[in-house]
């Protein structure tokens, strides 16, 4: 009875006119979507071609053929074989009948390399720790929804931006200048870059949280720190652990290259090998780094999945 009364008091707007209105609106909306798509694709294509042109992708170069004659060629087919030349030079001679001796020859500096590998991993570990501390602390004032005021937000966001925009290698150059050659410069370089990168990732996780628990803490008389500690941190903790493990993988890669400028780790051996033209050493180092990264990737992926609750059943 009462429900009927309500229905007759507010009859739903329907009938042929409502359907016609929908058809019209729908056609307009679809036309607009098509125009947007066409304009977007044209802009993308133009940007892509302009970039390729600036990047010399359309250059034509002169190459010397085997018989000594010279010919004009498009740069990509002209340059690709040289990549092969370089890679082939790094291949070690491995014969089945003397495999042990050949391997020993290939990895002849294994004692030095093993020590440097450990150093590399330790640099990555300590740098990740510093990055996590810095990134964690700064990520809260750098989140739009949590920052106490816009000045703090601005300062924290820009500090993190600068820290991650400058590559590890450049930070390493600066720190080698300040603190001399050695792993400490590497730790600081990788750590500073990781602070910036992690701070950004953490703050994005922070910006997606539910604000209701923070309001609850605030209404009970909690300070800004209480709201973060009790309302925000429990919500973002799984994300933080997951990003941290991912960053550790990235930092192992970064630490293995910064030795190139004297900041410790395997990178210094890469430089030596290149300048002495010990090409097979390069491939040996590549194998070492590759295996290490694969092992750490695998381990941290397992851990990460456990943290975010994937594959617990499997």
């Amino acid at each position: 009875m009462t429900l009927t009364a309500e229905l007759t008091a507010y009859p739903p707007v329907s009938g042929p006119s409502a359907v016609a209105a929908f058809e019209r609106d729908f056609a307009t909306k679809r036309r607009r979507a098509r125009v947007n798509w066409a304009v977007g694709s044209a802009l993308f294509l133009a940007a892509f071609l302009a970039t390729a042109w600036l990047g010399d992708f359309f250059k034509v170069t002169q190459v010397t053929l085997q018989d000594g004659s010279r010919e004009w060629r498009w740069i990509i087919p002209a340059g690709l074989p040289r990549l092969g030349e370089y890679v082939v030079q790094t291949f070690p001679t491995l014969r089945w009948e003397s495999l042990g001796a050949d391997l020993a020859e290939w990895f002849w500096r294994w004692q030095v390399w093993l020590r440097l590998l450990i150093e590399t991993i330790l640099i990555a570990f300590m740098a990740t720790t510093l990055g996590v501390i810095g990134g964690f602390v700064l990520s809260f004032p750098a989140s739009r929804n949590l920052a106490p005021n816009k000045w703090v937000l601005w300062i924290c966001r820009h500090y993190l931006e600068i820290a991650r925009t400058v590559p590890e290698l450049v930070w390493a150059l600066i720190f080698v200048f300040c603190f001399s050659v050695g792993p400490m410069a590497g730790v600081l370089a990788v750590g500073l870059h990781a602070t910036g990168a992690l701070g950004k990732l953490y703050s994005e996780a922070n910006e997606n949280i539910d604000m209701a628990p923070l309001e609850g803490v605030k209404a009970a008389g909690g300070t800004w720190f209480d709201q973060i500690r009790y309302g925000a941190v429990p919500q973002v903790l799984p994300n933080i652990i997951s990003y941290t493990l991912l960053r550790f993988e990235i930092n192992v890669r970064a630490s293995s290259i910064i030795g190139y400028v004297g900041a410790g780790g395997l990178g210094q051996e890469i430089r030596t090998a290149m300048s002495f033209q010990e090409y097979t050493d390069l491939s040996a180092l590549f194998v070492i780094i590759f295996v290490t990264v694969v092992v750490i990737d695998y381990g941290s992926e397992k851990l990460r999945h456990r943290v975010i609750g994937l594959g617990r059943e499997g």
Partner: protein
């Protein structure tokens, strides 16, 4: 506990062009159970948030006893929020923390930076929390994650959190709007018991008239940010109700359609 009246004078809050709470003047005596009704957007929720100072007023005064509340800052403001506990429609618990820690959040106003960050609470505080939970029959769930509880249980945990604040006023913003009728009754009964046993002033927003009628000593009705009615629930005649909800177009205003109580509704729908 000191018992003071809460008085609002010309309390106003504007959001841009829109005035959510428009020159509200009220006095709420200690120990009253007051319901605030009105349709969505009438300013009920803003009013409660103004009192707890989750929102700053644009104009007007909030006075509790002889203390002016509307311009408190820093520590004094947090202390006021502690005195004037609040529970919410969405409970606002931390899902990933256990029930006990959620209740202990109500003690944070008494803590310094270090103990708060380390989540270190004293044995007395834990006892308080368990006793509060026990009053609401939630003590057995103390070590469960808050997120695993049902809505009604979460709201009772939120009330326990409010109780350990040792508040003088309890504000409740639509405490039963997302609960089923059974749980809604439990939560309202708990609020009434606290009101009677502790003499705690309760000010609650409600979206159903029958709840207001059966629980509140006094009903305040709001429309477009203004107080339209203020008196005992018995004063809510059909004419007043139609005025508040702006349902003049309806031939017959049906309370049972908006009601959450169990009995009458099943019949109306099948008819």
């Amino acid at each position: 506990m000191e018992r003071h009246a809460l008085s609002l004078t010309g309390l106003t809050r504007r959001f841009g062009e829109n005035t959510a709470v428009d020159a509200v003047t009220l006095t709420i005596d200690p120990g009253q159970f007051v319901g605030v009704i009105g349709r969505s957007g009438a300013g009920k929720s803003t009013l409660l948030r103004l009192i707890n100072r989750l929102i700053d007023p644009s104009a007007g005064e909030i006075v509790f006893g002889d203390r002016t509340v509307n311009d408190l800052r820093g520590k004094a403001l947090r202390d006021w929020r502690r005195h004037c506990a609040m529970i919410f429609q969405q409970f606002n618990l931390v899902d990933r923390l256990d029930v006990l820690t959620n209740v202990l959040v109500g003690r944070l106003a008494h803590h310094g930076f270090a103990t708060s960050m380390a989540m270190q609470f004293s044995d007395e505080e834990r006892t308080m929390a368990i006793e509060a939970l026990d009053r609401l029959d939630m003590a057995p769930k103390a070590l469960q994650r808050a997120g695993t509880l049902s809505g009604g249980q979460q709201q009772r945990v939120a009330i326990a959190r409010a109780l350990v604040q040792n508040p003088r006023i309890m504000l409740a913003d639509e405490p039963i709007a997302s609960l089923d009728p059974g749980n809604a009754t439990k939560v309202m009964d708990a609020l009434r018991r606290i009101n009677r046993e502790d003499g705690l002033t309760v000010l609650t927003n409600l979206h159903t008239l029958d709840t207001a009628r059966s629980y509140c000593d006094r009903v305040i009705a709001m429309r477009d940010g203004r107080v339209m009615f203020d008196g005992p629930a018995s004063g809510l005649t059909d004419r007043v109700v139609r005025d508040i909800y702006g349902s003049a177009g309806l031939e017959e205003f049906s309370e049972s359609v908006t009601s959450t109580s169990i009995q009458p509704q099943a019949e109306t729908i099948s008819a």
